[in-house]
């Protein structure tokens, strides 16, 4: 069979389409990410009381931590369903490289999770009393940061595949890797808030995302090969 590089691009795109289709048909996962994040953001200002100064100090951190906490439960499902249904076995007995499929999976997870959050970012800004000139930066930083979280998450999901209590183990494993994303993500928004240039933080965030983009498909493919060999 003649397999060319362009056919892998076709495969990559068609697998993204498949995963997006699967996820949009089980909308509950998407809604739960969005709803969870919204809940944290609603509860936080109520919890710290009606003082604007207090909220000012923590608002960006709250935004980012709620993003991370909301995404984590959805990460495990990224691979678990396909592992249980035997789809990963079918991929393993096909000429399609597992790495390409896994990259497609992270990208589709990112699209499904991050698009509703981007659409809702003005709402989040209002709830956390952020300036409107921050919104484009929130969207930009969450988009890049969200991709990193998906890429790291798929490594964690592959690692706990087939393990009991994987949902407990997963956050512990991936949160250390997410810390740089949190630091630079919050850094961008803080810099915008005080009126200085956020570019340094932005470039570092992009740099980390690119590192994860390169590492993630290979590491997770290796882990999945181990998981299906059991």
């Amino acid at each position: 069979m003649n397999v060319t590089n362009s056919s892998w691009t076709v495969l990559f795109i068609s697998h993204i389409k498949r995963d997006v289709l699967v996820n949009t048909r089980s909308l509950i996962d998407v809604i739960s990410v969005f709803g969870f994040m919204l809940l944290i953001i609603i509860l936080f200002p109520i919890g710290i009381g009606p003082t604007k100064e207090k909220l000012d100090i923590v608002s960006n951190a709250v935004l980012w931590i709620s993003l991370i906490i909301a995404i984590i439960p959805s990460l495990e499902k990224m691979l678990q369903k396909d592992f249980d249904s035997g789809w990963l076995d079918q991929i393993a007995t096909s000429p399609a490289p597992l790495e390409i499929i896994l990259l497609a999976k992270s990208i589709s997870h990112w699209l499904i999770v991050i698009i509703p959050l981007i659409l809702a970012s003005p709402l989040f800004a209002i709830l956390l009393d952020l300036e409107f000139n921050q919104i484009p930066w929130i969207i930009l930083s969450m988009t890049i940061g969200g991709l990193s979280i998906s890429l790291i998450g798929i490594i964690g999901a592959a690692l706990v595949l087939g393990a009991r209590r994987g949902n407990v183990l997963l956050p512990v494993l991936i949160i250390p890797l997410i810390i740089p994303i949190l630091i630079f993500g919050v850094g961008i928004n803080e810099a915008v808030k005080i009126g200085s240039s956020p570019l340094a933080h932005l470039f570092l965030l992009i740099a980390f995302s690119l590192i994860y983009l390169v590492i993630s498909p290979f590491v997770s493919a290796l882990l999945i090969r181990i998981a299906i060999s059991r």
């Binding site: 397999v3 498949r18 699967v22 396909d82 249904s85 076995d89 096909s94 399609a96």
Partner: protein, 214 residues
């Protein structure tokens, strides 16, 4: 000829079999028989390249099959009890996604023909979550049809006929004899042996494991 030579396979800490020797005829149907837990599925998963071989070799006409693993898995179709179907997709979408990862041409006529070959033409747009176990199995077995369009040499099937009713078993038998005719090799792991239209060999794991004991 597929030769299993001094094969030792472990799953976790459990040794499934050690020092196993067997020969499997190519271009023929072989049924792997054995008790529950005798390692039928593990043997299939090993041949499919999932479970790593601890010791020994599997050779096809003298060559180790895993020397070029990608080339090996390209020419086989593996269907086990898990089917590999997504609940959220329809029967047709599942088949299409599968044909695409195989790198084959997923044109609609072929997909419909494949589903017709297992009698699924009336269930094309049914979601897998709404399908019964029998329908799911048939949706998975529809993949076999693509062996007649593309280059496939091996079918590795784990308990394929358990959920099938009489009519779909008849269609399944038709697919088997058609594949044998084009020199395909079929390995079926099953605990009960049904009648097939073609001659078949039996590989009884229980007996072979007795022989393999040192």
């Amino acid at each position: 000829m597929l030769t299993l030579k001094k094969l030792t396979i472990q799953r976790g800490s459990k040794v499934v079999f050690s020092n196993l020797n067997a020969e499997i005829k190519t271009s023929a149907l072989t049924i792997i028989k054995g008790k529950n837990g005798s390692g039928k599925s593990t043997l299939l998963r090993t041949i499919a390249g999932f479970t790593p071989i601890e010791e020994g070799q599997i050779k096809e006409n003298g060559d180790n099959i895993f020397i070029d693993k990608e080339q090996w898995v390209e020419k086989l179709i593996f269907i086990d009890t898990k089917n590999g179907l997504s609940n959220e997709l329809t029967v047709l979408e599942n088949l299409e996604a599968w044909v695409r990862i195989k790198g084959w041409n997923a044109n609609k006529d072929n997909l419909i023909m494949a589903l017709e070959s297992v009698g699924m033409q009336n269930y094309i747009n049914l979601y897998i979550s709404q399908c019964s176990d029998g329908l799911r199995k048939r949706a998975a077995l529809a993949r076999l049809y693509f062996s007649f369009i593309n280059k496939v040499d091996f079918w590795l099937l784990d308990e394929p006929s358990n959920e099938l009713d009489d009519l779909s078993f008849l269609l399944f038998k038709k697919l088997i004899s058609k594949f044998i005719k084009i020199k395909g090799t079929i390995l079926i792991a099953s605990h009960d042996i049904k009648s097939f239209n073609v001659n078949y060999n039996i590989l009884d794991l229980d007996i072979i494991k007795q022989l393999a004991k040192p």
